[in-house]
């Protein structure tokens, strides 16, 4: 069978900066009809550049210098631009990562799809409208006849991605390139979109080139997998084979770096170093510098393709016939090299470091010239939480459910409407700025995006010292002790940098000189500078690659063991929760629907939302397909909350009472509780609504 898409020796250069960057360096792959081919890799490996090369939509600075891209035997690189336009959208379509940015906001959906149709088919107007309606129905947009004449802003994120898929499908393409199609979406929406793509593929028999960094998505979707590293593919295999026995050390490391429940009490494997700069000429294996098995040969000879099983090929010297002994050694070594450490059990179970009671944060919606308030966005609507010293509470939920707002409210960064925040027994709400200042040292926050959380104009040492100086006013004023003070501060900075695993020399540099993971380390060092007891981590790893995420999670775990820190870990990533958290609170639309010990919540989820959320998470152990109880619909707006239980419009078990009043707490054990009418309601919870 001839492959649909056949790429040979594709080389794409980026002419930016001083030296040309080999963004794609000798890419070879082939995709058959009706197949989903996943291209897996960390950011900066050249995945997106490969996709753009296939479409010939490269940025101006980039250039395809060599290679063949054949679709059904026709070399795309030989086509003139006019011919190429007939290929784009007709034979090959593409979906981009950001559905919010890929649709023109001033054109209706129908007009945008019609553009594609006009380009490739000779349809008269009425027929085109019929066609658009049919396509929109195909991607699961209900009431397509009406919605097709609406504008993109009237659609939600998941719906926009459906429209994008509809647009890509309009030309009946033979190949669909999906560049991180679900990265910007929530898990529940991601599950919907992936379902849709799988469904469409079965109906139309098109091939899909799925570009992703998420092993879970690959496991759910792909037939074949290729791992890309530093501009070239280093391993390709059928999915089952790949997930059972990843061959390349890099693939193995990627699996080992994934946080899961089984690795709870051990460190995660990390890949030291970073992806090498692609501006250099490689003379050996690209992974050699980071590979634990590398030996001299790896640094001098570029490994050739070696077939280790049918259709499973790998580029690694380990599988060379010359060194079979090493291979078995490496396989045996893998689980052992994780530094196992026993988790200390805190004796002090009773005390509460942080206690939030009935926290409410409303943002007024103002209208008109005089800005009178016409309503409230109930970002947080009565949240109660407790965190014990040295423990980790994970706050889980979809984006827009108010997780981050809770974190910022605890830090007193936004005004609080009602409720109380007790830290070590001291009420934080209502404190004057000067009084609050004294308490600030006890809690700190780490933000999601390490690129915007460090001032680009300050050196690392200034960034870290800022907190020390601000919370020790003495060091600012006493000019006589200036020198001794500054040296002690300097020592402090050095210790902090060492503690988070950065070289001391790093303090003289500016943040932009560091990679994402290193920046997050700096942010952690800054937070640690004032010796906090509670660290609020607002999605600290969601902007990072898997291998870097593993480094940060290891660091957070080590810090917790050494310093006895408590974490409020705000995340949407269930696998991180499984790995790190002691307790879990699931949040939906400003309220906590279920909370309990991590095992209780994740093993026996009670609330339908928790169940659906867990079911939506793509897992790599996909041998037994779970019954997909994927949620329909999306998170309602917190400005206009549904009556009764907030979850009832999406709930599969909805009962009449759910539409009327919000359910009381149902307690399952001393730690585990949920708010749902499926379970007997606590009668006394109205009186003692603590915990």
């Amino acid at each position: 069978m001839t492959p649909l898409l056949d790429i040979k020796n594709l080389r794409t250069m980026l002419h930016t900066g001083l030296e040309p960057v080999r963004a794609v360096d000798g890419l070879e792959l082939s995709i058959s009809k009706g197949e989903t081919f996943a291209l897996l890799g960390e950011s900066g490996c050249g995945k997106s550049m490969s996709a753009l090369s296939i479409m010939r939509l490269l940025p101006e600075a980039a250039e395809i210098v060599d290679g063949q891209i054949k679709i059904d035997g026709c070399d795309l690189l030989q086509l003139p631009e006019a011919e190429m336009r007939k290929v784009r959208g007709k034979r090959i379509s593409m979906i981009f990562q950001e559905p919010m940015l890929s649709l023109n906001p001033v054109m209706t959906i129908a007009a945008q799809i019609e553009e594609v149709l006009n380009q490739h088919f000779d349809l008269h107007a009425g027929l085109a409208q019929e066609r658009i309606k049919a396509i929109l129905q195909q991607v699961g947009i209900s009431d397509a006849a009406r919605r097709m004449n609406e504008y993109p802003f009237q659609f939600s994120g998941g719906m926009k991605q459906r429209v994008m898929i509809a647009m890509a499908l309009a030309g009946n393409p033979e190949l669909l390139i999906a560049d991180e199609p679900t990265t910007a979406l929530d898990v529940t929406i991601q599950a919907q979109v992936l379902d849709l793509m799988r469904d469409l593929q079965q109906r139309t028999h098109m091939a899909i080139l799925l570009i992703t960094h998420d092993l879970g998505v690959v496991a759910e979707m792909a037939h074949r997998v290729a791992v890309m590293y530093a501009g070239e593919i280093i391993e390709t295999a059928p999915r089952e084979h790949f997930f059972q026995q990843p061959a390349h050390p890099y693939s193995q490391k990627l699996f080992a770096a994934l946080p899961t429940r089984h690795k709870r009490n051990q460190g995660l494997a990390v890949i030291s170093g970073q992806v090498p700069p692609l501006s250099q000429e490689f003379h050996g294996c690209r992974f050699a510098d980071r590979c634990p098995h590398a030996w001299a040969l790896c640094r001098h000879t570029i490994p050739e393709w070696i077939e280790i099983a049918p259709n499973h090929r790998v580029r690694c010297h380990l599988f060379d016939q010359q060194a079979p002994s090493l291979r078995s050694a490496s396989a045996a070594e893998m689980p052992g090299n994780l530094p196992a450490d026993s988790k200390k059990v805190m004796a002090d179970q009773e005390s509460e470091l942080l206690k939030i009671t009935d926290l409410k944060i409303f943002f007024p919606i103002q209208k008109g010239l005089l800005k009178h308030t016409v309503g409230h966005v109930k970002a947080v609507d009565g949240v109660s939480l407790t965190i014990a010293p040295g423990k980790t509470l994970a706050l889980v939920g979809e984006s827009g459910c108010g997780k981050t707002t809770v974190g910022k409210a605890i830090c007193q960064l936004i005004p609080i409407t009602a409720g109380s925040v007790l830290l070590n027994g001291t009420e934080l709400i209502g404190l004057a700025r000067s009084q609050l200042r004294k308490k600030r040292a006890e809690f700190q926050i780490i933000f999601q995006d390490p690129y915007s959380s460090l001032n680009p104009k300050m050196r690392v040492t200034d960034i870290i010292e800022e907190g020390i100086n601000a919370l020790n006013p003495g060091s600012d004023k006493s000019s006589s002790k200036q020198t001794s003070q500054s040296t002690s501060t300097e020592n402090q900075v050095d210790t902090l940098l060492q503690r988070v695993g950065l070289p001391i020399e790093a303090k003289w540099r500016y943040p932009h000189e560091f990679s994402g993971g290193q920046r997050q380390r700096i942010a952690i060092a800054r937070a640690l500078a004032v010796n906090p007891k509670l660290l609020i981590c607002d999605e600290p790893t969601s902007a990072l690659d898997v291998s870097v995420q593993a480094q940060i999670l290891n660091l957070l775990r080590t810090l917790q063991q050494n310093l006895g820190l408590a974490y409020l870990f705000i995340t949407h990533n269930i696998s991180v929760v499984e790995y790190l958290a002691d307790e879990v609170a699931v949040m939906y639309l400003g309220r906590i629907v279920e909370k309990g010990h991590v095992d209780e919540v994740l093993n026996t989820p009670k609330h339908p939302y928790t169940q659906a959320l867990l079911a939506s998470v793509p897992t790599i152990e996909s041998t037994s397909k779970r019954v997909s109880t994927h949620l329909s619909g999306e998170l309602p707006s917190p400005a206009n909350t549904p009556s009764g239980c907030y979850f009832h419009p999406r709930c599969p078990h909805v009962m009449p009472i759910c539409r009327e009043t919000y359910p009381e707490k149902s307690t399952f054990s001393t730690t585990h509780s949920a708010h749902c009418y499926l379970y007997p309601q606590d009668k006394d919870s109205s009186q003692t609504n603590t915990n």
Binding site: F447, S453, P456, K457, A470, F514
Partner: protein, 507 residues
Amino acid sequence: MPFDPIILWTDALVYLLVGIVIIVGWYIRRSPHLRAPWRRVTHSASGMAALTILAFFILIGVLDTIHFRPLLADASEQAGKKVYSVEVLSLFDIIATPLRTRVEKTYSAPLSAYLYAKETVELPDGSQVREFTRLKYGGAHLADPETQRVDDVIQRAIKGGGWGLFAWSLIVIGLSWGLANRNHTHFLHTQTLIWRGATEIPWRVILITLALGCVLLGMVVALSSHYHVLGTDKVGQDVLYQALKSIRTGLVIGTLTTLIMLPFALLLGIAAGYFRGWIDDVIQYIYTTLSSIPSVLLIAAAVLMMQVYIETHPEMFDTISARADLRLLFLCIILGITSWTGLCRLLRGETLKLREMEYIQAAHAFAVSHWRIISRHILPNVMHIVLIAIVMDFSGLVLAEAVLSYVGVGVDPSMISFGTMINAARLEMAREPMVWWTLMAAFGFMFMLVLSANLFADAVQNAFNPRIRTLPGKVIQSSHHKAAPTLPTPQAASSPLAPNAKDTAHP
């Protein structure tokens, strides 16, 4: 004392500005992390070429700022007490005395020996002839300008250019000697480094710019002793002298106005964006109101009021220069007060964006004071906008001055500026044959000034933007050439540090 030093208002402010620049420069020199971006500025070829030209303009501007009144020789002897001239001269006026004092009757074309207009001349025999009369100074040494003038001009130009080249080669020798001493290298080796473009600071570009400048300057100096290089204006004044005098006016308007505008724009813009709430409302209302008044009218009204005040209080000013200077200062102040709104709005918007940034929130979480957040986090991050706005405004203000002078509310008519020059030339554009040189001179000088300021600001902007790496490729290549033989294999060089190579690329 043979002169009486005078410090006019704008002089004082210019001295203050120069003082501030020197102090800031000294401070930056002492702290290595502030020095690094400025060092990157010196690596930019276009920036340094522009700076070379700017330096010439600034030199003239500063020379023109040192004012004094010369002693009147005959008067002082009579009364035994010193009497100073009412005319205020600058150091530049003294250097350019020949240009200043050799005044013709009216228009004459550049390098011409004749007037531009026919005149009725009475011949010795009593008859009258209308003809182009010879100039009093321009080409006066020639017996027969018709035949000799072109040769004479070319000869003098070549000679002047030669002197320029000679001066330039002295500079080159001095420079390479200094560099060789500092780096402990051989003189000739330094020379080859410079001319191969392998030095860290692009000396080659600077020297080429300097060579062009020196040759041009030499030629102009050589010619200006016997000709009017750029012709003369309606009252016979040398246009070259006027253009050179205009430089100070342009620089003063461009820099002092910005100096006056900056505190308003910075303080109010950042305060509005940072504090929000009622402070934001008040500041927004102020600048919306101010910018809805047509600024030309506002300026005209203010200048006219100022003019009336000056005319009713003649006793306050000893000299015409003092009066013209005060008017210039007020023009700067009024321009500054009317032009801060644009920058203020930009800064408010940027601050609104910045205050939501997570590093500001982190600073709040550390209880850093508002003042410190503004000065340490927000101010450095809006400085690039300020820098761009200053440069854009600089050229805009020089042009605004020209427009205002055209309306008659600009600088004092006795003060030479690009605006007054263009205004005067405008009247002669309709004349046949056209008088084009005044306009060309003003445009040419303005163009040079604004272009070099823009290029220099570009270099500064690139160096200060932390996301742009500005390392000249040549330096890296040359260091690679030198490093290559010492390393055994290329991959050995790249392997241990490769992952961090991106990070350590900075000097």
